[in-house]
Subunit: 341 residues, 2 copies
């Protein structure tokens, strides 16, 4: 198995990406193609010689910045790490592409170059949400700010297929994010989507509320990209704020600090549960290829985990599974071709 | 000043409501009318004799359950604690109504009996969101699952007027909840609302993201009732999950437990910052009267604080301030009369 990795993507690239790639290559049962500017990467790698034999550099002279407009990147920077990396997946030279870079650009290159799985209206960005007893996949988290009910149904199908084939979750529980548990609660979109999901053959557990997600009631939470983005960002902000408040309170007295030192291993185990780096990345679902998107703030550990997530998705034959699942879903009324925003 | 309090509303009513009313009446500079079934309330009060002279019972024989349908409650239970309490505000016998009961029913009675402030399309439910350096008001949080941009503008106007007049925040910073800071990021609703808010004369700081709310970048966060409800419920779920994870980790070793005992005051100060009870309640904005809605799980402390919040709103002449502010806003194209859901 060969994984293409965007060496130039992420807030701390390329240094942490190189480090993560080295760690993964030394332990993983896969090849890593480090895609980026060779002139930048070679000196960084030089200090780590001897390099693992399953790691090599794939040159990509263009650079996509974190704030480049996606469609401009696609037009003007085809030889960027994202363009070249996705290209490797398209030609079959790589089995998956992993990036912590410009999400919109990854999506745009993915859509343009790999295309969609038949029947998929729009690919979905996903996020792994830590829960008290595990994790759940939430989608969409920002690729589709305005959705139709048929898209939410497809998100359920794709999310379920991913959890089953890549992460080995049997009969994944699919919930619809809404503002009340009853089928009659929600907005026009969720009222309609609820009916579609109920008839879908998925293990649909009905509406779930925002407070249910961290409790772990569902393996897959389906929502439009606006609400999904709000949900993951509120979660991120609140967990950081709570941890920050505790840190502040603990530092306010010397004897608190002593006690906190004793508790450090306990705090660490909690921090690890909440750490996005442990989840590495989440898939872009609906394109014809495995594409894993990492957090912009990815550290070396997150990059390493994202490569492992990609390997799981390849092994689980996620794209085939989604294609089979989509074929079993009634076709939506119309499939407009939309450009990524 | 006279505050009507729903004695029968909330998960732990009437006991905690009676306790909260007694505490508030003993310290507050206002009269409390405890509205509910006299036969139930009198025995509960009897054990607390002598009763403070500024507390009395207002009989309301009907009972609205937490899961009663709002419009059915309005039709069938006019003599409920909610119906009678709102009626006291309408006739001027009370200056405000406070309830931790069935939110939909409070809204339905409020709309029907008090009516809307001129120009307000739909009243908004609000919530006080604790931030690392204070609090912010978020609206709507569930009354209006589908919104038009003109409503979001009105939420900004009403939220700003409330924060200024009731809580004394000078020139409140109003943010629009979206999925990117740029004006071009969001869904169709927020793109349109952004333009309206920009031209509104409010202290509009632009789009805010979910992660910004706990950081305290805005005093008022405007959003549709679906996303707002998702935001507050995710926040509630995540902060409970984080606290639960820490508690679990700390209880796993005896020496952790010893250290945690030392840290108890620090943990308590954090818990207090996050405790909804300290915020008491949040206003239903846009009806012609002060209506404060408390959390269904309100304890006595939350009821006491909700009465104080009501007193602040009355003193600040919130309804007049909103009416003045609304009059300064261009009228929306059409004002349909919608029933509360």
């Amino acid at each position: 198995m060969r994984l293409a990795l965007d060496a130039m993507g992420g807030d701390f690239a390329p240094h942490v990406v190189v480090q993560g790639a080295l760690n993964a290559a030394r332990t993983g049962a896969f090849e890593v193609a480090l895609v980026g500017q060779r002139a930048v990467l070679e000196p960084l790698l030089a200090v780590h010689r001897p390099l693992p034999p399953n790691l090599h550099v794939e040159d990509a002279p263009d650079l996509v910045a974190m704030d480049d407009h996606p469609s401009a990147a696609v037009r003007q920077k085809p030889r960027s790490s994202i363009g070249v990396g996705i290209g490797l997946v398209k030609t079959g030279a790589a089995d998956a592409f992993v990036s912590a870079g410009n999400t919109g650009a990854v999506m745009a290159f993915g859509l343009l170059s790999l295309g969609r799985v038949p029947g998929v209206e729009r690919p979905a960005l996903t996020s792994v949400f830590p829960t008290v007893n595990g994790r759940c996949l939430i989608l969409d988290v920002g690729a589709n700010a305005d959705c139709r009910a048929s898209q939410l149904l497809q998100f359920g199908v794709m999310g379920s297929a991913y959890m089953q084939s890549a992460l080995g979750v049997t009969n994944p529980r699919v919930g619809l994010l809404s503002i009340g548990e009853e089928a009659t609660k929600g907005n026009q979109l969720t009222l309609e989507a609820h009916q579609l999901l109920k008839q879908s053959g998925l293990n649909f557990i009905g509406n779930v509320e925002g407070k249910d997600i961290p409790v772990g009631v569902a393996d897959v939470v389906v929502t439009d990209g606006f609400s999904g983005n709000v949900a993951i960002k509120v979660a991120e902000g609140v967990s950081e704020a709570v941890v920050g408040l505790i840190r502040g309170a603990v530092m306010s007295r010397w004897y608190f600090q002593v006690a906190a030192a004793v508790l450090r291993p306990a705090f660490r185990s909690v921090a690890k549960r909440l750490d996005y780096a442990e989840y590495g990345g989440a898939p872009l679902l609906g394109v014809r290829g495995v594409v894993i998107i990492g957090h912009g703030r990815s550290n070396a550990r997150a990059i390493e985990r994202a490569l492992e997530v990609a390997a799981q998705a390849v092994e689980g034959r996620v794209v085939d599974t989604i294609a089979r699942s989509m074929a079993a879903v009634p076709a939506p009324a119309a499939i407009p071709t939309l450009e990524p925003s």
